[in-house]
Assembly symmetry: C2
Homo-oligomer: 192 residues x 2
């Protein structure tokens, strides 16, 4: 998505440790109208897969997932990252490693919110090594639900998570794929 690449080039900051800070329109301050445009791209690509639910994980993917759910007129479900007293018993759990926070985390989804017959479209803002997605896809599988595909705003292609998912046959749409990044140069992969 050319407009996303342009905004990343203009507004994002590359920090040490392969961190890409997009806190002006995606990860802290959020441009809602632009998220709707990205959701439109997801709709165009995934409408034919007939999802019944949009799944993401807290926190920074929530707006994108919500706008996608709005476009599809579907409920949105967000996995929680730690045990909260607000969700008792009956949980699907998946352990992941968060490289952003450099610690393990547990993704939680209430079992009564994800049925075996459902068709799940997973949406998230970032894809790097793919740990969060691995956890979400694991939960979809635990529920006996079907994965329709994965929609991502920004894939850090050089970290390999996206290509690993593609090799597994996952229908993955990343709106921008970064092949390399330095403080003053972000190189995008050519998209179809």
């Amino acid at each position: 998505m050319r407009q996303l690449e342009q905004r990343i080039s203009r507004e994002a900051t590359v920090l040490p440790g392969n961190i890409l800070k997009i806190d002006g329109f995606l990860n802290h301050q959020v441009d809602i109208a632009f998220c709707e445009e990205m959701a439109e791209e997801f709709y165009r690509h995934f409408a034919k897969t007939a999802p019944t639910k949009i799944l993401t994980v807290e926190a920074s993917g929530i707006v994108l997932a919500a706008m996608t759910a709005r476009r599809f007129s579907l409920p949105m479900l967000f996995a929680k990252k730690a045990k909260s007293d607000n969700i008792e018993g009956g949980l699907y759990r998946s352990e992941i490693f968060s490289y952003t926070y450099n610690k393990k985390a547990t993704l939680l989804v209430a079992q009564n919110r994800l049925d075996a017959g459902e068709r799940v479209l997973v949406i998230d803002d970032f894809l790097a090594r793919g740990e969060a997605l691995r956890g979400l896809i694991d939960i979809v599988s635990q529920a006996g639900a079907t994965l329709c595909g994965v929609g991502i705003a920004v894939e850090k292609g050089f970290q390999g998570g996206g290509d690993a998912l593609r090799a597994q046959g996952v229908d993955l749409l990343s709106l921008a794929i970064i092949d390399s990044m330095q403080p003053n140069e972000i190189v995008f992969r050519e998209l179809d």
Copy 2:
């Protein structure tokens, strides 16, 4: 908002420790269209206060804040709850105590995302003792910005946080106020 009270009565679960679980349409699975209806109520009440930014805190208030931001055609900003490597330096910080998680938390907002001239409408899903709001309002004050008001979906009135804010003169709109709750009976405060 009558429809919100009805959905709470029908779908919410009261758990020990004054926990109200609304994970079917607000706090885990989210009904986006219903969040838009709530956002419309916020718009009706706060449009005259001319906000320039919508502020919330991760994670479960994000959809409601996003839909409110969408209705106002404004950017949405969400405070983060812990130090992430994704936001370096230049932070407003406010320490709060999370009764849900029974531990202290730090709210963080990047200083360059909140200017002194801004008019901030704070949106969140729940208001109990008001700790999260105290932190957000503190950050608005640190920035030298103006607080337009606070919009809340569900206020647990018996925990006092809302009435304390009203006593301070904050323009607080709660769409449903619970005066008491037991596993089989939720009593709402009569609203104008």
